[in-house]
Every structure is written in C-alpha cells, then in structure tokens.
C-alpha cells in the first residue's frame, strides 16, 4: 500500500503493508532510528513521535493512518547539522539521560508540552512525561532539563509554533 508521509517537513512516499506500525515504518523504511522500539504495546513510551505537534505513540499507530499528518521525530528537532535544539541542549546540560534509550521520546514529550504550555509547573512536567518510562535516571534530571529548557525558551521571547521544530 503506497502512502505519502510528511516527516520532519519532507514528503516521503513509502510502500508499506497495511499492518506496519508507524514506528516500524520510520525505522525500517526511512532509517529514522531515533524513535525507539521498547514494549511495542503502548506502555513504555520509547516510540513517542509528534503528530501535528502532539506526542503520540508510534507503535500504536499504523503507518497508513499517518497519511496527511505532520510527523516529527527526534531527527527533526535539530536546527541544523551538528546543532542541538534548546531542549536537547538542556538535556545534555543537566545530564537528563544515562543510557539514552528513553531520551528521544522524553524530549519529544517535553516538546509537545512546551509547545502548548510555555511555563509548566513541576507537576505539569511530571504529568507530561508520566507515560514515558526511564529505568536509569530516576527522572529528577529529566524534569530539571525540561524546566531549564522552558525557562530558556521563554527568554527567547518568540512564539513557539507546535509544528515548528527549531
């Protein structure tokens, strides 16, 4: 089944089986391996991507269902080659990761939150990443990273469009 997907602002025509998940399509057809395969049944959150700027689980969505939506993966967050977005930079600075497996998904879940809420409280940050499991950090530095990024993004004094990934 041919489907045209809008991923990180580029159109990709892919030929997928109807049963192929968006996650498998991103990884196996498009080599966008930043979306990680964890539990494959919607519990761990490692496969999180943005659909029209909102975090969703790519393992619970079939690739054919993604037709017509703007999909953003972690590869689409970087403003340029070798550069990091504010959120990615904040994760480095506060050491918001250890093994890194949950990190792309954590960053995208945070991106989804910050695009809708520029000044989240600690509880709102915790709620936003509550669907993403991390077995290393204990979450403290991840929450810290998101709060730091929120502060820096506010300092930027620019409107953040949900679909703009700078």
């Amino acid at each position: 089944m041919k489907v045209e997907l809008d991923i990180n602002k580029e159109k990709h025509e892919v030929d997928v089986e109807p049963r192929m998940s968006l996650l498998d399509c991103l990884r196996d057809k498009l080599q966008l391996n930043g979306a990680h395969t964890g539990c494959e049944h919607g519990v761990c959150g490692a496969c999180t991507v943005l659909v029209d700027g909102t975090a969703v689980r790519s393992c619970l969505m079939f690739a054919v269902q993604a037709d017509g939506y703007a999909i953003t993966t972690i590869e689409g967050l970087s403003p340029g080659p070798g550069e990091l977005s504010i959120l990615q930079d904040a994760f480095c600075e506060t050491h918001g990761m250890q093994c890194g497996y949950c990190t792309p998904a954590m960053i995208l879940a945070a991106q989804s939150l910050l695009s809708k809420n520029a000044s989240p409280t600690r509880d709102e940050i915790v709620d936003a990443i509550s669907g993403n499991i991390c077995r290393c950090t204990g979450y403290a530095q991840i929450v810290e990273a998101i709060a730091l990024a929120a502060e820096r993004m506010r300092g930027q004094n620019q409107p953040q469009d949900a679909s703009v990934t700078r």
Partner: protein, 271 residues
C-alpha cells in the same frame, strides 16, 4: 464491509485495540478506520443530555468547556484515562466499545447511566450502559455494528458535586480499583440524589445504588458510608490478578468509595 467479514473490526484511536493486536489477543482480518469521519467527532447538548461522538478524541473531552460545565464527572476522570500521548489518539467511543473493566470512561458511562447508540445495517439502536457491558472486554455491540455516540445525562440541580479516586501502579496506568460519585445537594447541604460507581474491581463496572440510597437526605458521614459500602461489597465477586488480590480490591474499594463520596460532597458545597 463490517457485515461481510466477521473478522473485521472498527478502529478509531487504536489505543486499546492495537495493544491487544500486539499481544495477539485480537487478530482482526480487516481494520476499518473511522478516526477521520467528521460526523463521528462532536460534543453537543441535546435536551437534558450531552452527546459525544464515538470518534471524539479523549484529549478534546479533557478540555471541552461543555463537558466541564455539564458532565463534570467525565471531566474529572479524563486526566486518569491513559497518558497524554494516548489521549491524543484514543477516543471516547473506543474506550466504550472495547469495554475494558478498568476504563474510567466506561465507569462514568455506567455511573451516570449513559445511553449508547450504534448503527448496524443502516439502522440505529440504543442501549443503556448498564446492559451494554457484559464482561472484561465483552460488550453487547454486534459484530457488524459501529458505535456512533454516547449520551451522558446532565443533572439539572444547581449544586452538583463529583468525586473520583483510583489506585494504580503508575499515574494513569490501569486502575486496580476506581470509584466515582456524583451527587446533588439542597440549600442545607443535604443530599437530594446520588449515584456511585465502582470500576476495575469487578468484571464490569457496577453501580452501588444501595450505598447511594443511604446518602439521600443526609450530609456526609464517613462512618456510615464506609459501613454501607462494606455491606454492599460483602458478597460481590472481585477480580484478582498479579497486582491486586480479590481481598485487597474489596478492602481498597471501600476506601475509594468513601473518598469519592467525600469529594463529591465537598465540590457540591462550593458553587
């Protein structure tokens, strides 16, 4: 297509069905995606009810002003329905049609006596929630039918309060026990009508009418609610699994009901 193929299933958000497929508990031959049918996604007031289209996304309900004003119990449980990433895709009708005993939306439908409408072979049929849910993941929905909408009754009393509590392993994971209460108070703060529902503890969510009846005409009395709930649950068969035994569920259910009723009184007192 649905009528022609017994193995065909309707998919909307896929947040219940796809995990079942991943675990090979569901093996549909064909999936019919209704997620983008505009006529199935709406929230509107109709007489003394608020009707929600089956394919309405859960995150829409979470912030919908009409739901907050008219069906506060539904608004109250929404943050507990999955995580924000699953509410972005999951639908109200999907939660109902799959009939998970632990689903908060199912509990609200049973507690408020919602009416479900489905379409089969070009004709609409309605059924009260109490008859719709038959067992864990088993409903009265015919194989060839597609759920269209859910109608939640709106309480007209000026002072309506709601409460909801649940126990789970991780915020927003499947509940082991959940309890919902909605009641109306008169000017003196005495209860004029009440409904209480218990979810996740039994094969299908159940209403605790015997407990709700004891509230009418009275203010909140924790000991009395506890006693009435204990009595009501004494002979009820509870679910048991790795996470929570039947005895644990029975014990915790009493506390969840007491807390939900306490919150309902409290929120009804505040206008």
């Amino acid at each position: 297509m649905l009528a022609a193929d017994d193995g065909a299933r309707v998919i909307a958000g896929g947040q219940t069905l796809v995990p079942l497929m991943a675990m090979r508990l569901a093996r549909p031959t064909r999936l019919i995606d209704i997620a983008r049918i505009p006529g199935l996604s709406f929230v509107r007031e109709q007489g003394a009810s608020v009707v929600v289209g089956a394919a309405t996304k859960q995150h829409v309900i979470e912030t919908d002003p009409l739901i907050h004003a008219k069906v506060p119990l539904l608004a109250k449980v929404m943050p507990f329905v999955g995580h924000s990433a699953t509410r972005a895709r999951g639908t109200v009708g999907g939660s109902i049609a799959n009939g998970d005993a632990a689903a908060e939306i199912v509990l609200v439908a049973v507690t408020l006596e919602a009416t479900l409408t489905w379409r089969e072979n070009g004709a609409d049929q309605e059924m009260p929630a109490a008859e719709f849910f038959l067992g864990p993941m088993v409903t009265s929905l015919p194989l060839a039918a597609c759920l269209k909408s859910v109608s939640f009754p709106v309480w007209q009393e000026p002072r309506v309060g709601v409460g909801f509590h649940e126990v789970n392993a991780r915020q927003s994971d499947f509940a082991f026990v959940s309890a919902a209460a909605q009641l109306a108070l008169d000017a003196e703060g005495l209860c004029t009508s009440a409904t209480i529902g218990l979810g996740a503890a039994t094969a299908v969510p159940m209403r605790l009418d015997a407990v709700a009846d004891t509230l009418v005409g009275k203010g909140f009395d924790e000991a009395k609610v506890r006693e009435a709930t204990k009595a009501a649950l004494a002979d009820v068969e509870m679910l048991a699994d790795l996470h929570a035994s039947a005895d644990y569920r029975r014990r915790v259910a009493v506390t969840m009901v007491v807390r939900a009723v306490a919150d309902a009184y409290e929120s009804a007192r505040r206008p």
